[in-house]
């Protein structure tokens, strides 16, 4: 199985994980290896999804790219530079609620600019603009608990994108939403993304979502010591509509192909770790 089908691009990749192993020290003095020897590149402007069974270490990999975790061996490089400390070029959309509950939607969005030294007035104006772009212009004064799950994700998206990060890291951002809202959010994400094509690393356990959104789909085995076990290009044209693209023949063929491997490899992964 060719795990790294992508040709090495001439300019440095937006995100490059090479031989990254991430282990946690447990209380008992043992270590738990979450991800083992993972190599992955995301080219500038590329939308890559990581798919794997729940608890396989996908988020761990994302945190390594964000600089929230340091790999115990191997390294993470951002645009050719080895990452140490936080990844300042990345925006991160978390799986759990990460909005500041004590700030209004507007303040939640503008804060990312204010920390960067943008004057409060301008930050507010731009935040209003971003709220409008995610369809929440009328909800600027609401606090997070007054918003629905989908609306909170929209605020989160605006909060991250307003800083115009070169890289967008997303950890099952639409996981807790219902199916219709997920589809709407997926289309919104693609819309916003197509405007300036950031590099995206998108973690999900939903293979359909991954194919519909991405340029490439990367499959991980089950943890512990999860590995990258597959890498597919998605040959679907853009712009895409999430609902429509799922009806296309190429989508089904790719889905079947990946799912076969995903299933097999996951079973194999279980057998390996279970036997060891």
């Amino acid at each position: 199985m060719d795990a790294n089908g992508a040709a090495q691009p001439a300019r440095p990749a937006a995100v490059e994980l090479s031989g990254a192993t991430i282990a946690f020290r447990l209380a008992a003095g043992t270590t738990y290896t979450a991800v083992e020897n993972a190599s992955l590149t995301v080219a500038d402007g590329e939308f890559v999804s990581i798919v794997g069974p729940t608890g396989c270490g996908k988020s761990t990999l994302l945190n390594a790219a964000a600089g929230l975790l340091a790999p115990s061996s191997g390294r993470a490089s951002i645009f050719g530079r080895v990452l140490s400390g936080l990844n300042r070029q990345a925006g991160y959309l978390f799986q759990a609620d990460a909005l500041f509950p004590w700030k209004t939607a507007l303040d939640n969005v503008s804060i990312g600019l204010e920390t960067a030294g943008v004057a409060a007035g301008e930050a507010r104006a731009r935040a209003l603009d971003w709220l409008a772009r995610v369809g929440l212009a009328a909800f600027a004064a609401r606090y997070p608990h007054m918003l629905s799950g989908g609306q909170r994700k929209r605020v989160g998206l605006a909060q991250v994108l307003i800083r115009d990060p070169k890289i967008l890291l997303m950890d099952e951002p639409f996981g807790p939403l219902d199916a219709q809202t997920r589809q709407i959010m997926g289309n919104l994400l693609l819309d916003l993304w197509s405007a300036d094509r950031k590099a995206v690393l998108f973690v999900t356990h939903d293979l359909e979502e991954a194919i519909a959104l991405s340029d490439r789909v990367v499959i991980m085995s089950a943890g512990p010591a999860a590995r990258i076990i597959g890498d597919w290009r998605v040959p679907l044209p853009r712009p895409r509509d999430i609902a429509e693209v799922k009806l296309e023949r190429a989508f089904h063929d790719l889905h079947r192909e990946i799912w076969q491997t995903l299933k097999d490899e996951v079973v194999k992964g279980y057998a390996q770790t279970g036997g060891g």
Binding site: L68, F94, A98, W102, K103, H145
Partner: protein
């Protein structure tokens, strides 16, 4: 239950209680005496008369003001101290670990035993009462702020860092609001304890305040005065609690109201 019915029922409880009190202290049962002798239980009429007299003569205002002043000072000083130390301990786990047994020790101490010492140190004026209130308020605020800073959601914290916040900005936008929200959620308790500190302090030795008038009445077996003092104190606490609720509503607008069981 609509609001009107609720208020009607709440009033009904008061009316029935006062009626019972009236009947038990005035209707003779055996050998011409009521079941509850007015010498020990007073009567509603006497108590109301006393309260009206206090307010009519205006003597009560000075005592109310003194108690209020003591409670406010205790609340402010205790809160500021609690916030500062709570923050410090939460951000410096080593300091917290070193002081932990002593914090527990002092907090376990029934604060009332400190009252004589405070009287000795600060005299019979308001400051010995303020000090007693401070020892009560401080620990409530301290524990809440400590908890609030330590229990900031790790996701919110990671998000704040990814949004480029430095240590100072984290303080201002994450730790501080989180700590304040915990502090405000204990506002009713800490304000209540500030009043308790003031009144208990007055009761143990003072020249003015609600605790003082209750003590004075008690020492002359003036039961109507004791009850009147208690009712004025209760009313005082209800008014303060209402004000706290107003402040809380303003400050914690961002909080879901589900957990609010007060009316």
């Amino acid at each position: 239950m609509n609001r009107l019915t609720l208020i009607a029922l709440q009033l009904l409880v008061a009316i029935i209680s006062i009626a019972l009190w009236y009947l038990l202290t005035t209707i003779p049962v055996s050998d011409g005496k009521p079941l509850f002798p007015p010498f020990f239980f007073s009567t509603p009429a006497d108590v109301i008369e006393r309260i009206v007299k206090w307010f009519a003569e205006g003597t009560i205002w000075r005592h109310l003001w003194i108690t209020l002043l003591e409670a406010m000072l205790a609340f402010v000083i205790g809160s500021v101290g609690g916030v500062l130390v709570g923050f410090w301990f939460a951000r410096q786990p080593r300091v917290a670990a070193v002081f932990d047994p002593y914090v527990k020790m002092v907090n376990a101490l029934p604060r009332i035993v400190l009252a004589p010492i405070f009287t000795l140190w600060f005299g019979l004026g308001i400051w010995s009462k303020v000090a007693l209130g401070v020892t009560l308020v401080f620990f409530i605020v301290f524990f809440n702020v400590y908890q609030g800073v330590k229990e900031v959601s790790p996701t919110v914290l990671a998000n704040a860092r990814m949004l480029g916040m430095n240590e100072r900005q984290l303080m201002r936008h994450v730790y501080w609001p989180s700590a304040l929200s915990w502090m405000f959620s204990s506002l009713h308790t800490s304000v209540g304890f500030a009043v308790v500190g003031a009144v208990v302090g007055e009761y143990l030795g003072s020249a003015a305040g609600l605790g003082y008038i209750i003590l004075q009445a008690e020492m002359t077996f003036d039961i109507a005065g004791v009850f009147a003092g208690m009712f004025v104190l209760a009313g005082f606490v209800i008014v303060i609690d209402g004000l706290v609720t107003l402040v809380e509503r303003r400050l914690l607008v961002w909080r879901p109201a589900a957990a609010d069981t007060r009316t």
